[in-house]
């Protein structure tokens, strides 16, 4: 890490330290973004706060580490996770949310929390409390020196992955028929349906895409910590709720901005308010303040 080396810190040391925090913040922000966009997509379409998305994230992390250890290829691990998690995400929709759509929105949300703690305990029982480490994790231990700051390959991979994924998502939703149909269903479901778009298929697509993003985020966090334990998704799940509210509910762009801002605020916040508040509580402080000032979020027009 940066900072002074015992001697009195110079201005240059300070600059290095702040740059270091910026890299940490941005890479965390990218991870939050990949996690939260799934929630935003589900919220935008079904108006459900999909807390159990964190279980999808955790499953992604486990599949990545297990397959990577079995085959020796981290890339195969990611691919396997990206195949397994959409199935899980779609199953959650079919088995749990679909029958609960007729209730008040807090009902599916509580069920979602129940599913998350159920899955977390299931992961603990199946894979053990201590968690699983990568046999070979070249990624986490390869570091580069950028302007005097040590940056790990995982941090760079996270930022690149986020850039690629969101560019692909953007192209998919603006340039392909399926993507346009999807957006149409989100904004005007009845009219989209009358143009022959099957709303149920859109819902499955929605859960599948969100789950793939969560799996990538899960795999990257696993790499970053070089460990997958049952609680890996716990704090992220509730932070993601804060992020999508801060990002203006249902707005993908807002979610991306809120994720980056939160990553940076957390990185720098540990210096300024770390003395009286846990790092993990910062997101909730921001969330509550925002909800009280603007219950409809930054951009949204709905009344919460």
């Amino acid at each position: 890490m940066g900072g002074g080396n015992g001697a009195s810190p110079t201005a240059e040391d300070d600059a290095v330290y702040y740059f270091d925090l910026a890299v940490t913040g941005i890479s965390f922000g990218c991870m939050y973004a990949m996690m939260s966009v799934g929630l935003t997509l589900v919220y935008g379409l079904l108006r459900i706060l999909h807390v159990a998305h964190a279980a999808v994230f955790t499953l992604g992390a486990y599949v990545t580490v297990l397959v990577a250890n079995a085959t020796g290829s981290i890339l195969l691990g990611f691919l396997a996770a990206m195949i397994v998690t959409p199935l899980f995400g779609m199953a959650i929709y079919r088995v749990m949310y679909e029958p609960l759509l007729k209730y008040r929105p807090d009902v599916p949300m509580i069920a979602s929390i129940g599913l998350l703690i159920f899955m977390q305990d299931a992961f603990r029982i199946v894979f053990g409390e201590q968690g699983i480490t990568f046999h070979r994790n070249a990624f986490a231990f390869t570091t580069f020196n950028v302007f005097g700051v040590t940056v790990s390959a995982v941090q760079i991979a996270t930022i690149i992955a986020a850039a690629v994924v969101f560019t692909a998502l953007h192209l998919f939703t603006t340039r392909t028929r399926i993507g346009i149909g999807w957006r149409a269903t989100v904004s005007k479901p009845q009219i989209a349906a009358s143009f022959g778009i099957d709303p149920i298929k859109v819902r499955y697509l929605n859960f599948a895409v969100g789950s793939v993003l969560a799996a990538i985020a899960g795999g990257l966090v696993a790499e970053m910590n070089n460990l997958v334990d049952p609680g890996i998704g716990f704090v992220v799940s509730y932070k993601a709720l804060a992020i999508i509210v801060l990002g203006g509910l249902g707005s993908v762009r807002g979610t991306l901005i809120a994720s980056l801002v939160l990553g940076l605020v957390e990185a720098y916040g540990t210096i300024f308010i770390g003395a009286w508040l846990d790092r993990d509580a910062i997101a909730f402080l921001a969330l509550i303040v925002l909800l009280m000032i603007r219950p409809q979020g930054f951009t949204g027009a709905r009344t919460a």
Binding site: L49, M96, P99, L100, Y103, R104, P105, D106, V107, M109, I110, A111, I113, G114, L115, L116, I117, F118, M119, Q120, D121, A122, I125, Y238, L241, A242, V245, G274, A275, W276, L277, D278, D280, A281, F284, L285, L287, I288, L291, M292, P295, T303, A304
Partner: protein, 282 residues
């Protein structure tokens, strides 16, 4: 009575107070709160500080009731701004903030918590009796409110706020009342918990505990005082009685929560009522 039995009964009493008080907020008045642990914790810390400072039991109880209720009213004001799932998210945030704040405060013992809290002087059986009396009083209060005009107004607000307002019911005032009463009782439970353990740390009041309380309310039958009280007793005993459940506590609670919401949304109380009606019809 063995020390083990006394401690189990004490915990059951505390959980009954917590679940029944949460039911007043979420069941009667329809304001879903998944941060009840924060009010429980506030009461516990207030009582601990009062006991360490003065050693007076009545003062500790008073402090817990007042602080729990004050934080509850603050969150109650939030319920005037945000509704349903967003209120739930806000209460989750309050719970994380409470734990994140307390853990960093030296005057609250930080990560280590507060230990060596003076005893009440009643002995374990005396404490247990006091807890059971308060639990009984909480159930009685809940039943009374349920049958009163206030209970009617709570349910009207819970069912449909707009319609309640049209009928001339001041929805905001009743929401605040529900939060104020429910969280004061949670603070009381925190005080009793402090008397019982004489040691508190922030982790005992975390979000997962709040989810457990919500599970008791939902599984018992949201809105039914007896259903919720029975569920609180049953779900506290279950991990003690069955070793499997103790090892896989979250698995069982989470699983039950999903199953009940999915298959029997009115919980135990609803099932009992259905069975009763079926028997009477035949």
């Amino acid at each position: 009575m063995s020390a083990y039995e006394i401690s189990i009964i004490s915990i059951i009493g505390i959980n009954v107070i917590l679940a029944v008080s949460l039911n007043m907020i979420s069941g009667f008045c329809g304001q879903i709160s998944i941060g009840h642990g924060a009010f429980f914790g506030t009461g516990a810390y207030a009582a601990a500080l009062t006991m360490v400072g003065t050693g007076s039991v009545p003062l500790a109880i008073l402090a817990a009731l007042v602080t729990g209720s004050l934080l509850g009213l603050a969150v109650g004001f939030a319920s005037l701004r945000v509704r349903t799932d967003f209120l739930a998210v806000t209460t989750i945030g309050v719970n994380f903030l409470f734990v994140g704040f307390v853990r960093k405060q030296a005057w609250l013992g930080g990560e280590m918590g507060i230990s060596g809290i003076p005893a009440t002087g009643f002995g374990p059986v005396g404490n247990m009796t006091m807890i059971l009396l308060f639990a009984a009083a909480t159930i009685a209060l809940s039943l009374y409110i349920s049958r009163s005009w206030m209970g009617f107004a709570f349910r009207a607000v819970g069912e449909d706020e707009g319609t309640a307002a049209t009928l001339g019911i001041n929805a905001g005032a009743y929401k605040l009342a529900a939060f104020g009463i429910g969280t004061a009782l949670a603070g009381l439970a925190g005080c009793l918990y402090t008397f019982f353990t004489q040691f508190i740390a922030a982790d005992a009041f975390d979000f997962i505990f709040s989810v457990m309380l919500m599970a008791m309310v939902v599984i018992g039958g949201i809105g039914s005082t007896w259903g919720v009280a029975v569920a609180a007793v049953g779900l506290t005993l279950l991990p003690e009685a069955i070793r499997f459940v103790n090892d896989y506590r979250l698995l069982v609670f989470g699983g039950l929560l999903v199953l009940v919401i999915r298959l029997a949304p009115s919980g135990l109380a609803g099932l009992v009522q259905k069975a009763f009606l079926a028997v009477r019809r035949s």
